[in-house]
Amino acid sequence: MYLPDFDYYAPDSLAETCEGLEHFGAKAKVLSGGTDIIAKMKSGLLNPEVLISLKKLEDLKKIEYVSGKGVVIGALSTHNDLVNSKILNDKYLSVSEAAHNMASNQIRNIGTVGGNLCNAVPSADLPPILIALGATIKLVGTKGERVMLLEDLFTGPMKTVIAENEILTEIVIPDQPSTGSNYIKFGLRRSGALAVVGIAVAVTVNGGTFTEAKIAIGAAAPTPIRARETEKFLQGKTISDDLLAEAGVIASGESKPISDIRGSAEYRRDLIRVLTRRALHKAINEGHV
């Protein structure tokens, strides 16, 4: 295991970064925390000629609340920044908790939110909870910037809509009426495990009735998915144990998981059934955790 040769750039500005990416095109890859790309390069799965580091883009290291916009998370925030952010702890503890249950402390110290999203691994832990909370992302390129829903970022395993000259700069969790959210990760051990499945829900409950429920599932399909049929099913319904159980069954039916070394498709589908019910139950009863 040895890192192959590559050229390394660490531009001072966003504009330079995007220009560099445009210049090198497919030869270049973005280096953020490096917890994924360096390992892949060492094991020969990726072999970029150029790495463009974002480490000097200080503006992308922030978590702040902007009135009228929401919680703004800079793409270079580390997982532990999410874990320890007072703003997130207060408003969306579920995001901090999802980050806390990722990987290991060493990786949480260096891996970044932007990396976790752009990597587009189906089992990634942050996309489901951020999607459930309606997060948007900002992509900045040489020809300007665009804002879109996070759920529209992913096109397949390790595939996104990000152009070669673009980078993801920030994630925004918009102000919302939701009353509860959480992410349940099912891993095969308590630390350092990838999600066999991950279920995130954000619900808006009013007097025992669902005004809205958003459900996002990881490791259930080639990309993180919204369980839209389940969401539709729940909307306007009165909460009961049977209702939540039925929601689990519908969510399970919406998923298209694969079999791999962590679990069979059949097992994953059943986990989705059980954990969707549990996540909804928790969101209703415990708020944003």
């Binding site: 095969l188 051990r189 308590r190």
Partner: protein, 771 residues
């Protein structure tokens, strides 16, 4: 038998604790020598292929490459660790037999150049059909891994004691069960490394090894050198667990590369190469048939096993004999048949892993015994108490048992865990299980046939008496033998532990010892150290008697103070004074010790394997919480009660129990080396291979029972491996207690538990989850 010892039985600080904790300790991979080169091995990308040609010319042209070697540059003599089946070459000659088989090696000025050079070696292969399933390996027409072994049979054992057919015919109840184990890997934290220096016909190797002696023997043999011209030095070692007992390709390749270049060469494995080299636990397919009487007394057992050995023998002959041999230890029965076939496959070779051969058969037998208890309506504790081995007995396969407090272990484990209150009274989803274990305190015979003593030791007291150095061939690989042996030497000398120094595991400076395997060192190396210490004491009291004008028989020495036994008020002198006087008058104060095992065991084929001067015993109880919907297993708590004789260092002993349990818990629930359909490992790294983390560990209660082993110095016997043996069966029984489902294959994954519960709900067979 608690006696008033001065040094043993105490929690002295580890002798190397400070160096390790501060990072000052140097492991083989940390060592640097002037002009040192770096060496890497090229391995096979195919599970089974003919080598048509190897072209090293491009690699040789790369700047920084100092040597490239293949089978043409090394002896063709086959080696191995089991003399009955030497079947490995330093580099493959005609064909490769698994993904990771050794093909060539390079020595370069730095590590980076090595990887570039390896890519430039062109090997032309003709891919052959591979055999990846042990159960198909014996079929007619299956691909042959070695031409010399028809039907891929590497080891075949058929042992028959008593009259099994009669016992089963007369039994009140006969039960047959089938279980499957899994391949696991030791995963020591320190990767294998070696620095080889071949200079002026002398070969010196610093190696992360469990046994300098076996390395010295096999390396000398391979290169036609005198053993005296091969020096093996063990630096600090970061764990072995059985995987560093035999020479790897690193030492052989490094030696040749050093000879060719005239420079020291450091060779090393990365984590994924460690997995490929493997030598981890065999996957065993286990059929058990047992007959019992109405009271649950075992009348006879048939163990019928097949194991997947991988591409080479490694320690697998011994593993195979251990697999069945050790099953007779914990429960007494008089009729036993053991059939075993170890087959070759095109997968990495399996070898010895903590609990050598025993844990998977124990998992099967303990699960099987619980099934029998259920059939009879007996409490699992009760059936074990009724069959528990008693002291001063002989097993049906001729192992002599001296001390054995298994009954006391079972009773104590039941008491401290609250077994009797909990059993049958826990809420659904929560369960409690029980199992027993036993292990050798050192293999009775060395791995290759020889008449050397098991261990020898020397002590040299410094001229002013302020320090004493213990010279031992015993090998501390993290388990703490350096500390325990210094305690034992100091106790025997009447000296202080704090003044002890140790030089260990260097074939040139220390006396012979076979090394760290089969839980042998506290008893065997300890015997030699005790004898050496006693020889020092005798001499020191002799000189003291002239200084003190008292008869030597009236003197004793404790913690460095020499005193009269009969005259408590007589003036004392210090060990230092007497030692200094000794040096002035008589020269160096030296003590020597040697330990031979008495002849052990029966006369049948394979009778030598699993003989030992003493056997440890233990009982384990574990409690689990099962998520009834997801199958998630929460390993809540474990109670381990050990009979390990006199304890030398309680802290280290409990550390061994925790470590053994850690491995046992991992193998029970999480760990498995997985392969794709081409024989490639899918999880050769610590991200994919599910070792438990600290968060996954249960609460551990490690307790002891009073015990004294007459064959051991001060009554000691083993602990380091024994605590791994019951664990997998113990958890399986706890899961059964929780959910009423029996998982018939290891590991007991969440998905298997989920699957078994689902099948039970749907009314399918209660117990068949083998995949």
């Amino acid at each position: 038998m608690s006696k008033d010892y001065a040094v043993i039985g105490k929690n002295v600080p580890k002798i190397d604790g400070r160096e390790k904790a501060t990072g000052a300790a140097k492991y083989a991979g940390d060592l640097k020598f002037p002009n040192m080169l770096f060496g890497k091995l090229l391995t096979s990308p195919h599970a089974h292929a003919k080598i048509l040609s190897i072209d090293t010319s491009e690699a040789e042209k790369l700047p920084g490459v100092k040597a490239v070697i293949t089978h043409k540059d090394v002896p063709a003599l086959k080696y191995g660790i089991s003399p009955a089946r030497w079947d490995e070459n330093i580099f493959c000659i005609d064909k490769v037999r698994f993904i990771g088989d050794k093909v060539a090696a390079v020595a370069c000025i730095d590590e980076e150049t090595c990887y570039k050079a390896l890519k430039l070696i062109k090997v032309e292969y003709e891919v052959l059909p591979a055999v990846l399933d042990a159960l198909l390996a014996m079929d007619e027409g299956a691909p042959q891994v070695h031409d010399e072994y028809p039907r891929n049979i590497n080891t075949e054992i058929h042992q028959n004691f008593g009259d099994l057919d009669k016992a089963l015919a007369e039994a009140y109840h006969v039960r047959n069960d089938y279980f499957v184990g899994q391949r696991t890997y030791q995963s020591p934290i320190e990767p294998h490394s070696a620095v080889s220096i071949w200079k002026d016909n002398k070969l010196t190797i610093y190696s992360s090894t469990q046994s300098p002696h076996y390395f010295q023997y096999y390396i000398a043999r391979e290169f036609g050198l005198k053993m005296g011209d091969v020096r093996i030095i063990k630096p600090f070692v970061g764990g072995g667990f059985g995987g560093k007992l035999e020479p790897t390709g690193l030492e052989f390749a490094g030696a040749v590369l050093s000879k060719l270049t005239g420079r020291p060469v450091r060779t090393f494995y990365d984590r994924h190469e460690m997995f490929a080299h493997n030598r981890g636990r065999h996957k065993v397919y286990m059929e058990l048939t047992t007959g019992v009487d109405k009271e649950g007394k075992i009348l006879g057992v048939h163990a019928n096993f097949v194991s997947d050995g991988g591409a080479y023998t490694s320690l697998g002959v011994a593993t195979s004999y251990y697999a069945g041999g050790l099953l007779t230890l914990t429960y007494e029965f008089e009729n036993y048949k053991f059939d075993m076939i170890r087959v070759y496959t095109n997968l990495p070779a399996c070898g010895a892993q903590r609990g050598h051969g025993a844990p998977q058969p124990k998992y099967a037998f303990e699960s099987h015994l619980d099934n029998i208890a259920k059939d009879l309506g007996l409490d699992p504790l009760e059936i074990r108490l009724r069959n528990a081995r008693q002291p001063n007995t002989v097993t049906i396969n001729d192992f002599g048992i001296n001390s054995c407090e298994l009954t006391a272990c079972l009773e104590k484990a039941a008491d401290i865990s609250g077994w009797r209150e909990k059993k049958g009274n826990l809420p659904k989803g929560r369960g409690i299980g029980i199992a027993t274990g036993s292990f050798v305190s050192g293999a009775g015979y060395p791995i290759y046939r020889n008449d050397l003593p098991q261990s020898a030791a020397m002590i040299k007291v410094h001229e002013d008496g302020t320090a004493a150095t213990l010279y031992t061939g015993a090998v501390d690989i993290g388990q703490g033998s350096d500390t325990a042996l210094c305690q034992m030497a100091a106790e025997a000398m009447g000296y202080r532990y704090e003044n002890m120094k140790i030089i260990a595991a260097d074939t040139e400076t220390t006396p012979h010892d076979f090394g760290a395997y089969s839980s042998r060192q506290t008893l065997m190396s300890g015997s030699a150290c005790k004898q050496a210490g006693e020889e020092i004491k005798k001499q020191i009291l002799d000189i003291a008697s002239t200084i003190m004008s008292l008869p030597p028989d009236d003197l004793d020495c404790r913690l460095g103070i020499i005193f009269s036994k009969s005259r408590p008020t007589a003036k004392t002198i210090t060990f230092e004074e007497a030692a200094r006087r000794f040096f002035v008058l008589r020269g160096p104060l030296l003590g020597r010790g040697v330990y031979h095992v008495p002849r052990l065991g029966g006369t049948f084929k394979g009778a030598a394997v699993a003989t030992s001067p003493a056997y440890s015993f233990c009982a384990q109880i574990s409690e689990v919480q099962i998520d009834e919907e997801t199958g998630e297993v929460d390993v809540c708590e474990v109670w381990d009660v050990h009979d390990c004789g006199q304890v030398i260092n309680p802290m280290q002993l409990h550390g061994q129990v925790h470590g053994a349990l850690y491995m046992g818990v991992g193998e029970a629930i999480w760990e498995e080396v997985l392969f794709d359909d081409q024989g490639k490992i899918l999880n050769p790294n610590l991200g994919g291979y599910m070792l438990p983390t600290a968060l996954d560990m249960p609460i551990v209660h490690s307790e002891l029972v009073e015990s004294f082993e007459p064959a051991g110095p001060w009554g000691v016997k083993e602990v380091g491996e024994g605590a791994t043996n019951p664990t997998m069966g113990c958890f399986n029984n706890a899961i059964y207690d929780a959910m009423g489902v029996r998982i018939d294959s290891l590991p007991l994954t969440y998905e298997k538990v989920w699957c078994a519960m689902k099948e039970k709900r749907e009314g399918k067979t209660e117990s068949n989850t083998e995949v």
